[in-house]
Symmetry: C2
Subunit: 412 residues, 2 copies
């Protein structure tokens, strides 16, 4: 071709130039023992149940499963298949103790799609948003792409430090940005694994309601609670309709489906639907997933996963205590996928990371999730997709790499 790539790239829009994936966030996909990615365990995917659900859907629903929309009418092209939305709404109503019908749920192509839509539904260029100081980088990217000024609040052992929230909102206003959105992962937070305490949940929703700011509640790990029932959701405390929830089948069934949803007050969901630029999701997949849920297969599967993942959590804690303490400190997560390791100051973490990587062991640098100075001496470690037998050897390898990288503290 004439001209070549440079000439075409010169025609890209500002968005194509500026957006892109966050630099350096490509997942590691070639490690021998891979604690890098936040993936469900592929060996536990419910393949047979999905085969059955898909086959039954095509056998029983026939062409209805393959149309732009079915009996639910043309609004399915904006909101997605009404059957799965009703099933989800009923479950959320029970979970959150809040009435919800299908008008409060829209199906999206994976939670990343849903998070972007929720951001775009409420944020204009020049607005403000608050995120946790360490957070899911893609949502932060979408907030930036929507043109918002971002303020951060710290995360401690009880999740977002909600007492710092009013100041963050004030800072945004002082900078001329109207706060529109607070993004949080309250349960089994990525990357820190923390759970927002119940008093803080109440207070967070109270502040948002008083100040007229929407809350985007990312619940993608919510049902992976290992030591008791999951915490109440933010929406449970929401009398004002300010909480918009993002949930997904990716962690509970499989990410290769790309099926998730955004739920909340119908007026909020209407806004989310209005910014989408597609015709919702695959009716076939939505109907198959509704079958999976209604049959009970879904709940049975999640209960099994919870047991498996709890065991991996336990193996990981034991191995970290044996092989890595005191060069790492951590709090055992009570659910979800992530250990957030604080690396001792005397460890040259870059060197340790390189040594572990050379031995085939990957973890995710904390700096991926944060832009404050706490990132470089933190590591996110997910044992969930690692085979059980590899967890202890992998963490032992990490321990060796840490010990080999001990030097004078960079602060001294």
């Amino acid at each position: 071709m004439d001209g070549g790539a440079g000439e075409i790239e010169a025609r890209w829009s500002t968005r194509a130039r500026d957006w892109g994936p966050p630099s350096g966030t490509a997942p590691v996909d070639d490690a021998r023992i891979n604690f890098d990615q936040g993936l469900p365990d592929p060996s536990l995917f419910p393949i047979d149940e999905l085969r059955r659900a898909l086959d039954q859907t095509l056998a029983e629903d026939g062409d209805q499963a393959l149309r732009y929309f079915g009996a639910g009418g043309a609004s399915e092209m904006q909101y997605g298949h009404v059957g799965l939305r009703r099933t989800i709404a009923d479950r959320l109503a029970a979970r959150d103790g809040r009435a919800l019908d299908e008008g409060g749920v829209t199906l999206v192509n994976g939670s990343t799609d849903g998070l972007a839509l929720a951001v775009n539904a409420f944020i204009d260029p020049g607005d403000g948003a608050v995120v946790e100081a360490a957070t899911y980088p893609h949502t932060r990217r979408f907030i930036g792409a929507a043109g918002a000024t971002v303020a951060t609040v710290p995360v401690d052992d009880d999740g977002m430090v909600v007492d710092a929230l009013p100041r963050a909102l004030d800072e945004l206003r002082a900078a001329g940005a109207t706060p529109k959105l607070i993004y949080t992962i309250p349960s089994f937070h990525a990357p820190t694994g923390t759970v927002l305490s119940e008093p803080r949940r109440r207070r967070l929703v109270e502040i948002a309601s008083e100040q007229g700011v929407m809350v985007l509640e990312d619940n993608c790990y919510h049902d992976f609670s290992y030591d008791g029932p999951p915490p109440p959701t933010l929406r449970h405390f929401d009398d004002a309709g300010v909480v918009v929830q993002s949930d997904s089948f990716s962690k509970y069934v499989a990410p290769g489906l790309r099926m998730a949803w955004v739920a909340g007050d119908p007026a909020a969901i209407r806004g989310v639907v209005r910014v989408r630029q597609d015709f919702a999701v695959s009716a076939l997949l939505a109907r198959a997933l509704q079958r999976l849920v209604v049959s009970g297969d879904f709940d049975r599967h999640v209960a099994e996963l919870r047991d498996h993942y709890r065991h991996k959590r336990d193996l990981t804690s034991a191995a970290l205590r044996e092989h890595c303490e005191p060069l790492v400190s951590f709090r055992e997560p009570t659910g979800g996928f992530y250990f957030w390791l604080r690396i001792a100051d005397e460890v040259d973490w870059e060197q340790a990371r390189a040594t572990a990587a050379a031995a085939g062991v990957a973890v995710r640098p904390g700096a991926r999730f944060t832009d404050d100075t706490s990132g470089p001496q933190h590591v996110r470690l997910s044992p969930i997709q690692v085979p059980e037998a590899d967890i202890e050897p992998g963490i032992a390898e990490l321990g060796r790499a840490l010990r080999a990288a001990v030097g004078p503290s960079p602060a001294s």
Copy 2:
């Protein structure tokens, strides 16, 4: 809930407020005989072939089919499953006579998603775009949402009047808008059914190359050519890499899959991928569709559809001649889904439409596709999703409605 819908809507972003679906474009979904929608015939969906392909995919590929990405690596989270992209690239290379590999193809959630992404990859607020005077309203909406000034060129029996293109581009420049994109449906155009002539195809690509404007070629009906081989694509004439193609499985397999692709110069596709805000498409559906194509089932199915749809085209032409001429005039389409009917001036079209609708017969008003004055006396009629036995009775009903609405010409 306190506050209620109004208070939440007041927090919507400008996008949520302004975008939405184009007003009055909801498809008719309750007509007895429905010529309104541009749908493939649901009675011909390849249900058994899809069941087989999906079941084989899960049986043979197992958890690989259900991951964020498989052996193709993490770039599958941006571009989609590499296997289907290679299969598509090989077919496009053969179709277009242009080398193409998987870097020139990205999978998207239906062609609507792909059209929006292609628009967003090249258009900044204040830029200019050219569309046909009657066109697919959703793409036009995406162009408007991206902030472009739109110029139109007429469509005649040979498709877009390409001789009018330089003037349209000059008009944009005179209005201070840099032309960035020309959107066209060159083959079996929606809504007019026309085919862009080969000399015009050459000239269109020549003008775009000379003037540094990208061309978005929407090919979603391209293989439904009833009277001979389909025309050469625009990309066939493209030495400069300015043509970006949108194609989809929706019309050839089923819209309920939501699987389509955007193809072109890898530098252009890189731009398209950079503006997406999701993790591409379902690996499971992509792998199943690759199987459908590789097995030969896809080509056999498209050949069968072509025969069925040709027959419907013929039935429709005959019925229109018998029941509606001379109150409508039309040119028989040589492919695709659409008859574009010119309603005689002496017909009060609004009255005729209402009479037909009351008798259970729906067609789509031409005004949906155009903002010039030619719309109101035009109708788009698609017989493709209508059962064969209903075509002639439906058109007879339309003829009765037309005759009942004859009055003095509104021009007289």
